[in-house]
Symmetry: C2
Subunit: 255 residues, 2 copies
């Protein structure tokens, strides 16, 4: 079983080698920039680790894992726009729109979105593309709740963050050809993982769950989500040790 760091290196290498569609013309530069600004590649690592735990070579899930990172990056690029969060910086670099202007920033998100779908059409089954499109729509619904304001922060995060985490597991199941009848506990694991990620995010930022439950309450909720995630993994008849270590890392992450 490959370690999370090895899987992260596989994802990074895949992103570097990604051949963008030639007709993107000069728009490709802003797409590369948006991807190179980096990140922890959490979603692709979960996707690759799930595929390996489910009995496939991680490489079999690589197009799905990269597509997911492209969708995540597209969501950040559009989120950063002046009309949305108006963020001029992303991970210590100018955000895409700040670097290339708003028009190219909008198109960069669009191009990442379309490239993601091109990537998953390499699979024989259309399940991968379908699950990716559904997760993307859920994520967009979450962004809508976010910008228009909602009291229901649980729904907001379940959509805005949770959908892509759930898809990290779901896409891997299709790539690893796990029968639908056996997908249940895996998918329940993916849901808990998204929740865990969000609560810890709020603990690090001091908002969301912390505002509603206090720091100790949020910490307890995070631990409970981590416990449920481990319990779901225990139900699976497979070597899920790498996924368990990912849960452990997410629960105590400090960045």
């Amino acid at each position: 079983m490959r370690s999370p760091d090895e899987l992260r290196a596989l994802a990074e290498e895949g992103l570097e080698r990604l051949e963008l569609w030639p007709q993107l013309e000069g728009q490709a530069e802003s797409v590369r920039y948006s991807l190179e600004v980096g990140g922890k590649r959490v979603r692709p690592v979960i996707c690759l680790a799930t595929a390996e735990a489910a009995g496939a070579e991680p490489e079999a899930a690589l197009p799905a894992a990269l597509a997911l990172e492209l969708i995540h990056t597209f969501s950040l690029v559009h989120d950063d726009l002046p009309a949305l969060d108006d963020d001029e910086e992303r991970r210590g670099h100018p955000s895409t729109w700040k670097q290339y202007g708003e028009a190219v920033g909008i198109l960069a998100g669009d191009a990442l979105h379309a490239e993601a779908f091109r990537l998953v059409t390499g699979y024989e089954t259309t399940h991968v593309a379908r699950e990716l499109s559904e997760a993307t729509l859920g994520m967009i619904g979450g962004q809508w709740l976010d910008i228009t304001g909602t009291d229901d922060e649980v729904s907001l995060h379940k959509l805005k963050t949770g959908c892509l985490f759930a898809a990290a597991v779901g896409l891997a199941l299709w790539a690893a050809e796990v029968p639908v009848a056996e997908q249940g506990p895996w998918r329940a694991f993916g849901d808990e993982l998204g929740l865990l990620f969000q609560i810890v995010d709020d603990i690090l930022d001091g908002d969301g769950y912390v505002e509603r439950h206090g720091i100790d309450g949020a910490r307890r909720l995070a631990d409970e989500a981590a416990d449920r995630a481990r319990a779901r993994l225990a139900e699976v008849d497979a070597d899920t040790s790498v996924l368990r270590s990912i849960v452990d890392d997410l629960a105590v992450r400090t960045a």
Copy 2:
């Protein structure tokens, strides 16, 4: 063979009945609005007519035809944004961003884009989704050429307009299961159709081809493109009478 008007009605009905993904939440309203503002549905009609000419029921190509209209609409919604063309009106109605604000306008385009891909995952083959993603990327490359400025207006339009017209034919060929070896003349027809549409557009707007070739020169180029489109159709062993009538209509359209 159904007439272009009958095929247009089929497309309109399909758009009305389109079930958007529930997790889009309130974002769905702006998606519906963007689609209802209407248009001539040129691309879906070509797609449906091509499928029928190639021996399929038009209904078999309906998801592809609707997906194409969603991608076209997404491109208009983003094109209208203040950072791009800054259009407050679209077909006599407030443009999507003007109606719902810029943030929701950006997300509306994103949602149309993702819904388009969800639609084509209903096909067993991934060819439909792949060709749609490639056409979308080409269209985005054309938008990039447009906003950053280029002397090569032929390439610009071949991408920005031509890719979706070519896809209108290409998606229909996959939906109608036309073998790759027989797709050549059909695809050459689709290329000429996109060019014809663009030249006539420029004649109606008095720009582009008219600026470079004069009104008579542009008219002659349009007629030549229409002749080549008819010639490509004549190479196909099928009843292409409806497609020929579409060529005739596009050549003399006044709106």
